[in-house]
Assembly symmetry: C2
Homo-oligomer: 201 residues x 2
């Protein structure tokens, strides 16, 4: 025996959410149908709207419903320093840590040849085009301190080697093998301040 088809389908669909197993999915479906249909309807419309309208910023590729995000449009940011991160969440983590006044570039992942993820999949052609415009003097390669993040930083450094741009990497105050997004603000700040010139071996 099971719930009715539409209830089962809802439980199945909820499992697309990270960390949600069969028992959590059932609890969530029951909560929405039994106790908070209004909240469920808000979730439906927020999700539909976000999936429909949220794309990438034309400049930094972060998630936004605007053509160009608020941060890229701000006259108070320094366009000569570009911080390259793997995800919008990493970008937010830097902003919450504070201290950085430059702009960002979001890769949405890292190079992963085995999964068929190459340079254009992480927007490196767009990064090159942006550098062609001139004005960028330093790039902080703030990919995760994981094997894939390191490899991606090295690849970008190699590609940019003959440009007149300073390359730096975050100082290792961060735990090795950790996910940047989950590092506390203080550690992130110190790592940023102590960033080092990039050495591609």
């Amino acid at each position: 025996m099971s719930f009715s088809p539409l209830v089962e389908q809802l439980m199945e669909s909820l499992r697309v959410l990270p960390g949600v197993g069969p028992k959590s999915a059932q609890r969530m479906a029951m909560h929405l149908l039994e106790r908070d249909r209004e909240g469920g309807r808000r979730l439906t419309s927020s999700l539909a709207e976000a999936l429909e309208c949220v794309g990438y910023c034309s400049r930094c590729r972060t998630l936004t419903e605007e053509t160009t995000c608020t941060l890229c449009c701000s006259p108070r940011r320094d366009p000569s320093v570009l911080c390259v991160v793997e995800s919008p969440a990493d970008m937010l983590a830097f902003e919450e840590a504070g201290g950085f006044q430059g702009l960002y570039f979001v890769l949405h992942g890292h190079l992963s040849p085995l999964d068929g993820i190459g340079p254009e999949d992480i927007g490196l052609d767009q990064l090159e085009a942006r550098l062609e415009e001139g004005g960028v003097e330093e790039i902080v390669l703030a990919t995760n301190p994981t094997a894939e993040g390191e490899a991606t930083a090295h690849y970008i450094a190699t590609q940019l080697a003959d440009r007149e741009i300073r390359l730096s990497r975050l100082a290792y105050g961060m735990p090795m093998g950790g996910e940047l997004e989950y590092v506390d603000g203080g550690t992130l700040s110190r790592a940023f301040t102590g960033r080092q010139p990039f050495q591609s071996d």
Copy 2:
């Protein structure tokens, strides 16, 4: 700094789900927008469809998109025994435990005068109407073994006192103060088999 308005709105809406705090909501929103928009769209349509079409069974009040649920329509169930439960999840727990061949009646909660939840809010008028039709010989009061569940069982027992219907309560093999939905199938089965005549003090 924060994400764009639509992304923030999505994170806020995800917090309607039980057990989802700010950090989980962010992880879920990022997962849907960055890695699984197709899954997000399936969730949107499943949720919209369930909220629109899933209501209560006209007989047992469980959640279903049909007028009368599959179980209530089944000719293989014994209509002379009615098991009264607090939720559709409790009903499913009994079905998964197996052994019970009667029908159900779902209260969708319990009496809670302080929250303004009275007899009609848990469908007791509908239960009375159903008993008026005749044919029910035994009612198993399978509300949760909590103070509220006990009080609700006692209230129903009092209301039905002058009818020719046997009332029983689940045997206490169940942990006191526990939630029926989370009890393992074996314990539930034993509790059902060992059910006792109801004594209203």
